[in-house]
Amino acid sequence: MAFRDLIRERFFPHIWCPGCGHGTVLNSLLHVVDKMGLDPTSMCMVSGIGCSARISGYVNFHTMHTMHGRALPCATGIKLAKPQLNMIVPMGDGDAMAIGGNHFIHACRRNIDMTAIVLNNRIYGMTGGQYSPLSGRGVLATTAPYRSIDDDFDAVALAQGAGATFVARTTAFHVKELSKILTKAIQHKGFSVVEVMVQCPTYFGRKNKMGGAVQLLEYYRDNTAPLGSKKLEENQNLIPRGIFVERERPEYCEEYQNVIALAEGKE
């Protein structure tokens, strides 16, 4: 099976702008599922609203396109009913950290076995370039014409603090690293958070005069460094990439099964 067999070809070419990083993440995810030999019928993808959420329409898995920020609660429901499914929840930065912020931290806390991918393009693309909680101070956006005065969330630190058992960050430039991290995140038993810094040439790049897709990818290449690298040690301003947390904790579906067994008097 090739990665092309995992998509709904009738919906291509996709809706995303030329050079959009979401396409690269979809591409990488399909390569990972193909390489891992996962059965498409064992895969489930639940998404919310936004550019990133359109991913669920393109993959030939079980999919559900739900409400803004509410992908994780819907995914939690499905996972509890069918724990055998490999659950993938792609979310945008606004979807995950603003509208769905509360759901995000509680999903981390519960440690339910699914992979949450935060596609961080630092802007609300679909609605016209408003700043998001991950835009950061000094960013230009439709709603911040004199630059944003809001500090951004560190999605990795937030997930770590909320108790996620697998937390990683990479970028759409580092495609091989992205594939490796996604593979590990899917294999991990528990709640996995992967923040992927992606480019939005249409709104973020244009508004901030940072150029097109190529220039934004070069920015991610030049301004990030792997955890534990000399490059990162020498320059604290670089954004760290890699796997921040990988640990084990009781998984929610299994714990829930124990409760059912207890209630039925089997234990």
Partner: protein
């Protein structure tokens, strides 16, 4: 089967593959990606980078050529 298949109906001409091909084997012709088979080593980076899922690389890279995001090493 061609070494590199490019689906021109899906290619949106963003130029990401052109910029990050380690051998500079790709170019944009009429806003569509095109490969020079003479230069291509079949590393598959463009297939992974393409945001439009428009590229499939069928040619395997030679074992002695290790390709990363930063280019050839």
């Amino acid at each position: 089967m061609e070494a590199v298949e490019i689906n021109v109906l899906w290619c949106k001409g963003c130029g990401v593959c052109v910029a990050f091909c380690p051998k500079k084997a790709l170019s944009l012709v009429g806003e569509k990606a095109q490969v020079d088979p003479e230069l291509c080593i079949g590393c598959g980076m463009c297939e992974l980078y393409c945001p439009d899922l428009a590229i499939v690389v069928n040619k395997p890279t030679k074992k002695n050529e290790k390709v990363t995001e930063e280019g050839l090493s």
